[in-house]
């Protein structure tokens, strides 16, 4: 009979031990796997000059001030470009989870601009796996500089240009994110017959996080049919810099061969060349306010 009792004790021990073990497993067994959306592919809605796949969340207002100084090769007299400054202001707002809109005004050609950015796909893991995030950007810009030839008939439509851009990004891991951006630019009026009204360009950018709050970013746009800008040669814009995030602010320090800060200008009108030292130092400051909770 003794072995039987031993067996009972053994079972008793076994069942209670088993019961103790499974409380956390019980949770795992009975909880469904959720969709885990990737967040913060980039720290800001811009990689450098160009847009990133990120949007302002609903109810958040992003006030952006961006500066580009003169070129580093302008010498000590111009204090390596710091004596000159070109500025762009922007007010950008998250309307819905999948939609943001913004307006801006820049020194360069006294341009007003507006854009909408839509979410198409969100990178996710878990119960639904999507490898990339995709956003679409559509923007319009209106220049307001005085007409170059006031004597001829000038139309308002000549001041307009449009940009459509698909932003496809993947956060490869915590530190590293990449993006490609097929871009279409249409200018209603161009300077000469050697310039193209339609530009096809592809942007590539990425970031590497150096710490939780600092990342190194780089961005390049390759334009397939560059043309010229009046008599000046055009180059593809290359920008490198750092994101520094401090609570509600993101500072972006940037070195770029482009003076202008909106798509139609940095894609279509970049006349600086890195190798010649036509490098503009600049920064973007993003300050986010919560408007609606």
């Amino acid at each position: 009979m003794k072995p039987l009792i031993c067996i009972f004790f053994f079972f008793l021990f076994f069942t209670s031990a088993f019961a103790q073990e499974d409380l956390m497993d019980m949770i795992n067994d009975r909880t469904d796997e959720e969709i885990n959306y990737t967040s913060a592919t980039f720290k800001s809605t811009r990689i450098m000059n160009g847009h990133s796949v990120e949007k302002m969340p609903p109810g958040q207002l992003d006030f952006r001030i961006s500066h580009r100084f003169g070129t580093l090769n302008s010498g000590l007299y111009e204090f390596f470009g710091l004596d000159q400054s070109s500025i762009h202001f922007g007010l950008e707002y998250g309307i819905l989870k999948w939609l943001m809109a913004g307006v801006g005004r820049g020194t360069y050609e006294k341009t007003f601009d507006g854009f909408c950015k839509f979410t198409i796909l969100r990178q996710s893991t878990g119960s639904r796996v999507i490898p990339v995030s995709v956003s679409m950007l559509s923007s319009v810009a209106v220049t307001s500089v005085k007409w170059a030839s006031p004597e001829r008939t000038n139309y308002f439509s000549s001041r307009l240009s449009y940009v459509h851009q698909l932003l496809i990004a993947r956060k490869l891991n915590q530190a590293f994110s990449v993006q490609i951006a097929p871009t279409f630019v249409h200018r209603n009026l161009v300077a000469t017959e050697f310039d193209h009204n339609d530009l096809y360009s592809i942007g590539a950018g990425g970031r590497v996080k150096l710490s939780n709050r600092i990342s190194f970013n780089a961005e390049y746009y390759y334009t397939v049919n560059q043309g010229s800008y009046g008599s000046q040669a055009l180059y593809n814009p290359l920008s490198v810099g750092f994101d520094i995030e401090t609570g509600g602010h993101v500072f972006q320090l940037i070195f770029t061969n482009s003076l202008a800060m909106i798509e139609k200008d940095f894609i279509g009108e970049t006349t600086g060349k890195w190798i010649n030292g036509d490098i503009h130092f600049g920064f973007n400051i993003s300050r986010v306010f919560t408007i609606k909770k």
Binding site: M24, I27, T31, N212, G247, T290
Partner: protein
């Protein structure tokens, strides 16, 4: 001898039948950080927890990403910079009610309890001891607790620029409504 084994069998059956577990998948855990500069508050209504009233064992599992903040940017920073939820997606607690004998689960009422156990968060496990209440109702069990933890104890680094915006001690509120788990 035979009688003894029958008694043992009965005891073991009795124990198994009495081993009552209660569970929830949508419990609440919130935290509050109050400083003169700003108050930060977040709520999580997807807390999973199981309590075994026969042993007093209690476990919690929290998805860090399920904490909702008033400001979206705070939520992003919470996940990206502080809790690093991609690396450490969950926080868990395994503990035991140390004064289980004072709780009568057969009689509705409010009982003060003390729970001791291990809280794992941000890949750091610390022993904690908290006070709370167990309320026995006709339909189930409610558990409530309020306690404090320090981010520093969980290797959550707060940079000097925002040091004054985030409290050194964070108040945690736990509100759980359990319902009985049917044995499978």
């Amino acid at each position: 001898m035979k009688r003894l084994s029958i008694i043992l069998l009965l005891i073991s059956l009795f124990l198994v039948a009495e081993a009552q577990k209660y569970m929830t998948k949508n419990g609440y855990i919130g935290f509050f950080s109050g400083t003169p500069i700003e108050d930060i508050k977040a709520d999580n209504n997807q807390v999973a927890s199981v309590i075994d009233i026969s042993t007093g064992e209690i476990v919690f599992q929290v998805l860090i990403k399920s904490f909702k903040f008033e400001k979206a940017l705070m939520e992003e920073h919470f996940n990206e910079n502080y809790l690093e939820s991609d690396k450490f997606p969950r926080s868990t607690f395994r503990g035991k009610i140390t004064n289980l004998s004072t709780v009568d689960f057969t009689r509705p009422g409010l009982y003060d309890v003390k729970v001791e156990g291990e809280l794992n968060m941000h890949d750091v496990t610390n022993k904690i001891s908290v006070n709370g209440t167990i309320e026995v109702t006709s339909g189930g069990i409610n558990a409530n607790s309020k306690f404090n933890i320090a981010p520093e104890d969980y290797k959550i680094k707060i940079p000097s620029v925002v040091r004054n915006n985030i409290a050194k001690i964070i108040e945690i509120t736990v509100t759980i409504k359990y319902s009985p788990v049917e044995n499978k």
